[in-house]
Each structure stands twice: as C-alpha cells, then as structure tokens.
Amino acid sequence: MINQSDKTSNREIINLANQPYKYGFRTNIEGDTIKKGLTEDVIRIISKKKDEPDFLLKFRLKAFEKWKKMKCPEWSQLNFPEINFQDVIYYSAPKQTEQLKNINEVDPQLLNVFEKLGIPLTEQKRLTNVAVDAVFDSVSVATTFQKELQQYGVIFCPISEAIRKHSDLIKKYLGTVVPIGDNYFSALNSAVFTDGSFCYIPKNTKCPLELSTYFRINEQKSGQFERTLIIAEENSQVSYLEGCTAPMYDENQLHAAIVEIIALKNAKIKYSTVQNWYSGNKKGKGGVYNFVTKRGLCAGHNSKISWTQVETGSGITWKYPSCVLVGDNSQGEFYSVSLTNNYQQTDTGSKMIHIGKNTRSQIISKGISMGNSKNTYRGFININNKALGARNYSQCDSLLIGNSSNANTFPYIFVQNSTAKVEHEASASTIDEEQIFYLLQRCFSLEKAIAIIVTGFCSEVYEKLPSEFSVEADFLLNLKLEGSIG
C-alpha cells in the first residue's frame, strides 16, 4: 500500500536545525579590559576612564547603592540560572592610545568588523542616507555624518562624548524617563553603563538622515550596558534604528541596556529595532540575555512616540518598550514581531501609561514560536483618572509552528475613568495545512510556503519600519525560518 501522506507528514514542520548564525565570528582585537566583578571601585574606574564630570559619578554610585538593595525580579515567564554579577566584565574597549580626530584613525581591523556586518563606516563606503554610531563592546568606535548633522543643529554622538560636551542636556534629561531605581536592571545599567548613543534634535527640525546605532558585543565575558538618550525638541522629528549582533559563545552574555526617549510638544520620534543577538545553539546553549528597559516620554502636547521592533535573536529577551503619555493628545505606538526558535525565550510587550487628555495608543504584537521556544506577550495599559477621552487598541497574534513551542499572552488593563475606550484582541493560530497545500500546488517549496505565510502574518508590522529595513527584517526572519523544517 502506497501512502500518499507518508512523505509529506514526515516533513511535518518539526524543528531540526537552525540556520547557522551568520554574525557569529569573533574578532581578536587588543582590548583595554578591566578585571571582572562589580564594586564601587569598578564604577569609579569606569567613570575615570571615561573622564566623566562629578555629577555622573554620583549618579552611578547612587544607582549602585539602590541596586545592591534590590533583587532580581522573578515574575517573568523566563527560566534562567541565577546570574553571577561578579563574573561579568563591566568595561572592555578596543585599545586606542589617544583621542581620534577622524574615522581614518580608527583601527582598520575594527572597521573591517563592521564592514563584515554590513555596516561600512569609512567615508567612501558609508551608507548614504543613514548616520551610524558603531558601538563595540563598551565603547562607540565611530559615528558617521556627525559634521553634516551639526549643520542642522542635530547632535548625534556617543553618549560618553555627550556627557563631556553637552553635560547640561545630560543633567536635564538622563534618568528622567527611566529613574535609576526603576527596576533591578535599570539600576545596574545606571551604575555601570559604558556607552551608547545620544541624539538631540533641535526645535522645528526634521532630522535629515535616519540615525542608527549598531551594537556589537565581542568580548566573551563582558556585559554590554549601553545607554541611549534621544531628545526631540518642539516640532521636531527623527527616525532612529538600532541593530545588534554578537559572536557565538557557549556561555551566556549579559546585555542590559536603557533607552530613554523624550518628545516635546508636537515632536515625533520613531524608534526601530532589528535585534539579532546570538540566540544560542540548537540545544539552547549560549546566547545573549537581553534585559532591556526602553521607555519613551511624550512630554508635550500632540507628541508621538512609535516603537517598532523585529526580534529574532537572544537566548532570552525581556523587555517592554513603553510610552508615558503625559502631553494632551499625545500618541504612543508599539509594533512588534518576535520570532523564537529552539530554546529561545522571550517575555516582551509594551506598557502604555495614559496621563494626558485624549491620549491614544496602539499595540500590534506578532509572536511566532517554533521549536521548543517560549514566546510571551505581556502588555500593560494604564488609563489615569485625568486621561479623559483616552483610547487604546491592542492586538496580539501568536503563530505556533510545530508541536513543542509555547505562546502566552498576558494583558493587564487598568482603567480609572469612564470616558476611556480600551480594546484588546488576541489570536493564536497554527499554520493551516490547507494554506500549505495551496502554496505547494502553486510551485512553492515547503520552506517558502511557510516563509510567505509568516511574512504575511508580520506585514502589518513591517509596514511600520523604514523601507530599507523592512526588507532587511523580512530577510532576517526568513533566514531564521530556513532549515527549521524537517
């Protein structure tokens, strides 16, 4: 008896292999690395190495005091062994003897690393419409188009440089959106952060370029604690993109960043992330712990902050890009695609805090779980008693591929006034056999069939990404899907 279904059902969408991680190479670059462990002295060393003003050292030490009294939170749907914070290196930088005057002085080997990652930095090769800040382990190695941006009054530089050169802005805004004691990891970051990007868009200015930061962890034992601060003054606009990769190591690397963004009256900030940290091997060994606090403050009337994220990497992802909608008529948005495979775990979503009148927020979250992974959406909508006429719409869709993956949705909704409108929709689905058969009949291979269904599933979110990155994001996702079908 010939069974027509035998071969096809054997090809059931089981998780056999992961596409090899393309960015998993390690670079041997002579480093200036301090010994591992976290003490007050270490913080003083970091601050000194960065030649920081006194107020910042105080900020760090205060955060460290808070952190010591806090405990690692345990409420997430994540399983990981206790992190030994004394086993982490808190400062690691490629060695350079003196302050660089221009990009040509950057170690060519470092430039090669970024070129290999598709981020050429030299003037001849750099991307023409995007200004890039390249961060390697603990420090920013180069920022392109800085001069050109200055003509518009836009400041785009490593945050360590901003701390020295624009300390008034740093004093005014650092830690105002994410206070140092906000949570365990934000306290840690505030104590030990080493670099990150700083963007300042002056009044009435539309930033002429996309701003982008590319994070690369190289050192095996080093944690990356970057700090990003974006300020958009009245009537200004900016679009910012963040990309991340790391080499493949058996041990987990810790990444605990803070992103604070502030939109004043009528300002619009769009923040997009394509996160592709190393996610561990097929058995779940290794991979980056990505524990990040991202929060935006819509301080002014009519301001708008929009988070878009495509998350495919990291062993564990734990983050909730949020908006605090203080200004009347302000708007917050969160669009997310999160794909997990093998033993990856994510607990992600968004928080929308409505304080001003007629504030609006929208959440669209698409989770795809494959293999033995665990994909959790957690959302928090809080409508304050003064937020009259506030509205929220949340939509969470989960797509399960295979039989061993896991998807959860935890929406928390608190409404304190009767004029608010809050909607929440959620769906969970698997890939329909009839859809697959239809596509196979139309000359699609099984892999391509699944890829196009997943692309379609995510299309609402892709549309929100800057166009050149939506192609990239889709490509990245398809890479992840390849080889995931038995």
């Binding site: 008896m1 010939i2 069974n3 027509q4 279904s5 071969k7 096809t8 059902s9 090809r11 329909d432 056999e433 009839e434 859809q435 058969f437 239809y438 596509l439 196979l440 009949q441 139309r442 000359c443 699609f444 291979s445 099984l446 391509k448 196009i452 269904i453 692309t455 379609g456 599933f457 995510c458 299309s459 609402e460």
Partner: protein
C-alpha cells in the same frame, strides 16, 4: 516525443481518507489537446479526485497508479507535481492574509522557473509578464495589489485561480467547480481565459455541475462520476441529457 503517450493516465485508482474508500477503481486517460468534463452528484468524489492528482496528503492510495507523461507521480510531493505542470484550480481557494497577490504570483512563477531550470527573470520582467497575463483575462491591475484572496468575492477568487493558471502555464489544469457562483459576465471572462490557455499541447479537466460552462468550453469527453468511479462517458450531448434528466436515470455499472 511520441504523441501517443497520454498527459495523464489514471489506472484503477483506489483511494481512501481515514478508512473510508472514496475512489473505487477509477480509470481515465487524458491526451494532449483534450478537454474532459467530469460531472456527477454531490459527494461522488470529484473534488477528492482532483486533490489526489495534485498530491493532497490527507488521502491514501491503496491501489492503482497515476501516470504523468508516462511516469508514475505517486511518490512525488505536491510541489514536485506542480513543477511538472499539474495545476489545480481550487473549489475553495484559501486566503493568505498580509500577502499581496503580486508577491505571491511573483514567487510562484520564480519557483516554477527555477524548478524547471529556466532562466529566472528580474522582478521588472516578472511584473510585466504577470500584468500581461492579467490583462489577457480582463483582470484589472488593482487585483495584483490586494492581499491573496483576502476579502475577495466568490467570483473574484475563481478569476484569481484562472490568473494563477495562465501565469504558471501548466500542461494540465484541473478546474474544480471554477464556474460555481459566477455571474454570466464572469463566466464568459473565465471561459475566454480558459480557451486562450488551451492548445493542442495541453489538456483540461473541468469538474462542474452545470452544462452552462460547457456551452463556452467545448469538452472532448463528458464523464459521469458516481460513488468514486466513472459510470458513463460520452460527448457534449451527455451533458445536455444530464441537464434535462438529472443523474437518476443512470444505472451504476
């Protein structure tokens, strides 16, 4: 190539789903240049027949064989059958949310070119090719930018199946009730598309309930299927007779 090998030959085919036998000893030979109409009451196994040819995994073949240009295709996956040039226009085309018709057609056509080792075209050439095909069956270009079958009316879905057929240009097309639910104008458009597609190197199987479609597309043979086998074969006049008398007068052989 000897032209006497049929495009599709079904030999004493028995098939079941779960443990229910659906096709019982079905035989059929389809040559190049022929149009075969398969009629029959509901539940006689017509749709199952079409899905089995296309390789749907839910059905088990317990006996018999299916030959395409003389070679058995029983062990081929659905996509391998589609590469060979077997096309099925679905009775109920599925929706793929978020995927534009154009993106879908581009990928389908590229995969086909790749599979048959033809030179692949760049996306401009493909767009040009697809637009021309859409025009040839009076489909407006706006169709291409809508999501695949999402929110399409019944008639639009059926027309979209015909568009996919002319884009993929198969050797044999099995059209499963493509005429159901169409108004007269749409029926004429679709028939025009099918007639333009047809030539002496291809073959078509029309599964239908109505003689109406056969007024526009002249079948070489008309078969009546009942309880999983073909119980009568004739020419166009058989369809006319069925329209008048129904199926009851036919005795099972």
């Amino acid at each position: 190539m000897s032209s006497n090998i049929p495009i599709l030959e079904i030999k004493k085919l028995q098939a079941c789903v779960n443990d229910t036998e659906i096709l019982k000893n079905l035989s059929l030979k389809i040559n190049k240049g022929e149009i075969h109409a398969i009629m029959g009451p509901n539940g006689s196994g017509k749709s199952t027949f079409s899905k089995i040819i296309a390789g749907h995994p839910a059905y088990k073949i317990s006996n018999g064989d299916i030959l395409f240009n003389g070679k058995s295709i029983l062990n081929l996956e659905p996509e391998e059958r589609s590469y060979l040039g077997i096309f099925l226009a679905f009775q109920y085309p599925v929706e793929i949310p978020g995927v534009t018709n154009l993106n879908f057609l581009e990928q389908a056509y590229s995969s086909k070119l790749k599979a048959i080792k033809e030179k692949e075209l760049d996306s401009f050439k493909i767009l040009e090719y697809i637009s021309k095909k859409a025009q040839s069956i009076d489909m407006s270009e706006t169709f291409l930018y809508r999501n695949l079958n999402e929110g399409f009316s019944g008639g639009e879905k059926k027309r979209n199946e015909i568009l996919q057929m002319v884009v993929l240009d198969p050797e044999i097309a099995i059209l499963d009730e493509t005429d159901s639910g169409l108004d007269i104008d749409a029926l004429q458009t679709i028939s025009k598309g099918i007639n333009t597609f047809m030539n002496d190197k291809k073959a078509i199987v029309l599964i239908t309930h109505y003689q109406r479609l056969l007024d526009y597309i002249k079948p070489t043979f008309v078969h009546v299927m009942r309880n999983g086998k073909i119980i009568k074969t004739g020419d166009f006049s058989l369809a006319q007779k069925l329209e008048l008398k129904g199926y009851e007068w036919l005795e099972e052989v």
